[in-house]
Subunit: 802 residues, 2 copies
Amino acid sequence: MAALLITSALALACSAAAQLQGRGFPDCDNGPLKDNTVCDTTADPLTRATALINAFTLQEKLNNTGSTSPGVPRLGLPAYTWWQEALHGVASSPGVNFSDSGPFRYATSFPQPILMGAAFDDDLIRDVATVISTEARAFNNDKRAGLDFWTPNINPFKDSRWGRGQETPGEDPYHLSSYVAALIEGLQGSPDDKYKRVVATCKHFVAYDMESWNGNFRYQFDAQVSSQDLVEYYMPPFQQCARDSNVGAFMCSYNALNGVPTCADPWLLQTVLREKWNWTSEQQWVTSDCDAVQNVFLPHDYASTREEAAALSLKAGTDINCGTYYQDHLPAAYDQGLINTTDLDISLIRQYSSLVRLGYFDGLAVPYRNLTWNDVSTPHAQQLAYKAAAEGITLLKNDGVLPLTISNGTSIALIGDWANATDQMLGNYDGIPPFFHSPLYAAQQTGATVNFATGPGGQGDPTTDHWLPVWAAANKSDVIIYAGGIDNSVESEGMDRVSLTWTGAQLDMIGQLAMYGKPVIVLQMGGGQIDSSPLVNNPNVSALIWGGYPGQDGGVALFDIIRGITAPAGRLPTTQYPAKYISQVPMTDMTLRPNSTTGSPGRTYIWYNENAVFPYGLGLHYTNFTAAIKPSFPSTYDSSSSNSGSASYDISTLTSNCTATYKDLCPFTSFSVSITNTGEIMSDYVTLGFLAGIHGPAPHPNKRLVSYQRLHNITAGSSQTAWLNLTLGSLARVDEMGNKVLYPGDYALLVDTQPLAMGNFTLTGTELMLDEWPQAPASRSRSGSRPTDYFVGGYGSEQIMG
Amino acid sequence: MAALLITSALALACSAAAQLQGRGFPDCDNGPLKDNTVCDTTADPLTRATALINAFTLQEKLNNTGSTSPGVPRLGLPAYTWWQEALHGVASSPGVNFSDSGPFRYATSFPQPILMGAAFDDDLIRDVATVISTEARAFNNDKRAGLDFWTPNINPFKDSRWGRGQETPGEDPYHLSSYVAALIEGLQGSPDDKYKRVVATCKHFVAYDMESWNGNFRYQFDAQVSSQDLVEYYMPPFQQCARDSNVGAFMCSYNALNGVPTCADPWLLQTVLREKWNWTSEQQWVTSDCDAVQNVFLPHDYASTREEAAALSLKAGTDINCGTYYQDHLPAAYDQGLINTTDLDISLIRQYSSLVRLGYFDGLAVPYRNLTWNDVSTPHAQQLAYKAAAEGITLLKNDGVLPLTISNGTSIALIGDWANATDQMLGNYDGIPPFFHSPLYAAQQTGATVNFATGPGGQGDPTTDHWLPVWAAANKSDVIIYAGGIDNSVESEGMDRVSLTWTGAQLDMIGQLAMYGKPVIVLQMGGGQIDSSPLVNNPNVSALIWGGYPGQDGGVALFDIIRGITAPAGRLPTTQYPAKYISQVPMTDMTLRPNSTTGSPGRTYIWYNENAVFPYGLGLHYTNFTAAIKPSFPSTYDSSSSNSGSASYDISTLTSNCTATYKDLCPFTSFSVSITNTGEIMSDYVTLGFLAGIHGPAPHPNKRLVSYQRLHNITAGSSQTAWLNLTLGSLARVDEMGNKVLYPGDYALLVDTQPLAMGNFTLTGTELMLDEWPQAPASRSRSGSRPTDYFVGGYGSEQIMG
């Protein structure tokens, strides 16, 4: 043991020394590698990376298995940090180094994904991601960032309590898949580009959506998920990432899935990810979530030794360990014969072929190398940060007070702990923005007299000592705007919410403000939805706007919506449940369907069988819209089409001409939807297409999103056409084995949450499997002995209060 | 409504203006009050206070109902802040103002009560509290503090998860009562003194011991408590405060008790507190916890309007509202006829008679007025802070490595996030200490070579990136000391714990340290107990010490224990449950007894029917003790005494000569216990006396603490005698109605947790009620309509997941 510890310590000492050399690119012109094939730009990435790794000694291989990679000084291979963050802009993280002053002291900070999701605008997301990858490359050129970014978080946000739900675009798996396709294109560039812009990392694979709930921790939680729920709900965004968008990296999660920690699960990382989804074309890599490999040992207690935890993870397909656990324990695992050099080579080749694809070895031939500080936070980027916020902000209630005319003579009471927000507006995984335009800043720009007072925060702490200025502000103002709700003090990484209610203090203050006989506009901020029914039901609360985490220009975006400079068109990307919801479903319950035995009313708008406070997809406008739906049938398909939108299709005919590798991607049809603005104010409109009807295995979902398109600037009285493109996969349901199947039955396409139009059609013939799901091995549990010498009780497979 | 709001706002504006005048004493020599009876030092406090309040206008009365009291400038009555904190030393709080430099820039910071409770030394507590009140008076003389202090927190600490359990002395109601008697004497002085030193405030009345558990919040929780549990467990420390120690103030709590928010409960505040316990001799006052009056309205939803919430609370007997809710809403309550001037007068007279008793109006005649900065943080106080820590620190495991010889040649690896602790050592409700003597500081003072490395914190965040220096430190050291556990990042006000386990990261690090073949000593820090069974069961972990929050000199106290300069004699003041405990009992379950229906194994050592990791009262020594118990029977009682410690008593005889107002206080007998140090090291010894046996209503408790005495400096081979003084109350049990009853049956007195001696006796005759409990009104719920205009759903009486 002592000898092994010393080996390990030496390896790490080397690592630390290498780090001091700083970052940079390998020198393929004059460096020691210049004659290595890795420097041959005519060779393919896999060949180049293989040549590089072949030059490593065993010790050098063992050294380069963690997120802080020392490189190989002997070979002139620089140190590299595999850990950059960029959730909604280049973000503070181990691999990102903002300057204290001068160039690179900030980067554009977009809204949190939950608000960008509410925009339902994939073009916007692609633009945002392109700005982020541009700024990331500029930081990289200044040796202030690496080239891989551990974003997006694409786990579906099924439970409002989840502290990290704010990092995701919402609760619907189709929405997330469509969003992430646009995002990856913006981050990585086109798959055909010779050089990736940056590498994106889809996380957290898979079924990770709980931080800490009633004694259940993300580091030890074993998510019990049926094949049906897995394929139908938890997997689609990851399938999009791997199979369809060719993302450069994945991150396995802290939790276990059906007994196996995801980072040590060869079925998940090899059978599903690499084989089923063909995620092998570029030797992409998987990183562990930070110290998730340690968690395979403790607290998962899945491996009986630390060396076994490291070896199982490496062999399962976790190529990089965030942390030092691989560097600490793979040397002993090697000595014990638990891994061999081939295991190390596979992962190292994946790492370095990824860097080859990023142009790491290709010097100034890489087009992105000319990006500089001048390309960071450009006017275009700043405008896009504003636009992303304005498009997502969602109007939930309006008694006619909005849009509000604000003139120089208007006096506004701006109240609440979000009124003068700075960091609050960014949420988590934030960088340093060029500015914070708070609601207070925005109000002051309008020329109105602004009477500002802070309010109680989201935690419900005693605060009435500070309420006096609130009444003074309200007394002397024409209109009252309250900006509150929740923030990262109650929802964040490591912390799930334990309540869906507004705090009593906030409700009391708003209730008193509503008694002044003045217009009262409430801004409900934060990522997870709060039960706002007390505000809905109070006739003296004039308007309610959900603002999420709106980013650097969030205050201006909010005030432009309030004033009607921008018309609101955002849609709720998650269901707003009544407060009692959290007493109906434990966070540990991974099932989606209602369950009369457990009392679960179901999860997400797809299955929830009670009344939401505000349903998924809701968002009011300052104008009115009508919709007319028209089928547009490709001539290759038989159908008995009619103008009424009713049609019938034979399953075998539908599939007979489908030659794609993945049959779910074959087109079904594109419905054109004509949207007419019948009101008086120009506005965007989000065309949401849901599918309902009786087909496939019972129970049948309420409906499910199958397509969406945001239309822009529809002027009063005019129409625009949205195309809702459905594939065979849009029609398919998932059976209990996880297979995707086309079923005969009745289908209805609904336009909008409270439908403006509907089209019915029928599928006939016999059911047909579009995609077969690879079953996990029957026995997933391990028989390895517990490390009882120092660990007894406490953790383990027992679910606590769940 | 508008008119009322303006009235209220004006009143508060006056309040704010008055605050600016700063603090001071009324001028009874030349001020406007000089001819008012309040300045007549020959009159009694009640007469004096009444005369003062009679001089107030209605508006002035309404102004002075909150914790920030503007006084009456017209009368020369200064502003006064009713809110000083001093949980373990004069503490930062609204009424306490530390200087930035020079005098009064710090005060002595003692250990958290949970560690001082572990000393089981009431003389120590009295000394500590005397230092605190001395320093408080010095601060007051410099106009840096008021004279009332909102301490102690004396709710029994029955659930290890409770974030504020650290503020209490432990889980046993007898222990808490004995402790708090000593504490109040130190804070307030003798009841016979003309002037109180300061006013203490027993909180939180009653059944408050949860912050936030799974959607249940302290502000809205309705504790369902039987009369039996209430009298037996939740009430005793408060009865001690009010009935027996004449504390100057009480604080009602956030929670409701059986449907009624405590601050609005006339049964609790009038029938029990003031009538049953005769807490009226000095017109003592009750303050609300901060904004608990607001919580009566929201979220308790107990009053239908804000005015009603304020009026109900004032009339129930809540004299001061922490916050501004009284000042905001009592004016309208008065206008609506919900309160009258008599209601205001009662509370105001209570406030100001309390200040009279503190000498507030008596100028330099008050002896404490000569205390200055020279009386703060004296050598005596500093030594006492050290002693309090050293006496409480508890040895849980020792394979013989302790006491540890440390010489100049010794090298120590000092590892963990507590190793270089500063604020961590204070816990919450802290002030500014004169210094922070961390474990690292203390280790360095020994002359040893100290290799320091920080470790993972109590939250389980990913950390292996920082582990490298740990292995380096361990490699080059002779002995490894790990200082970790938990701290205020996981247990604090507003935050209960959700796990009783050590984090996986800490267990992993300790487990690896234990493989170096060197002595490993673990310091388990923090207030709530953690399941340390992995450390107990690891033979390579040499020793385990619980250190709580040890205060300003905590590191030195810990190292003196480690080195044997002080011998450990602390005892666990709470049970150390196995980690699974939290899945057996919801925090909302207020019952104490095991329950086969709910699966609860019972709460506290009194009822818990499974195996604790470490039982209540456990604490190892560096020596061995034996005990010999001898009955010492007062001659007035018949008994068939015998030397073997067996005796029989007739209940009617026992009580016939008992003429005290409170029969439970009548003496039963004093047992003398001779404690002999049979080992080789001088040591303190805590003599714990438990009572067990079959008597009274089933189920019967395992045992219950009835007396304790700490013996000091018992030299090797010598003996000292402890006296365990039992009253009739010690023998009594509580029936289902809450009455205290003497029952015939078998009794056993056990000395120590793992008994060193036992004495048996019998009570004969018929059961006899010692104390009758006043029953709460049959219907406690109110029929007031919900304020549905702005509040619907979410809160209310529904328990969430509990």
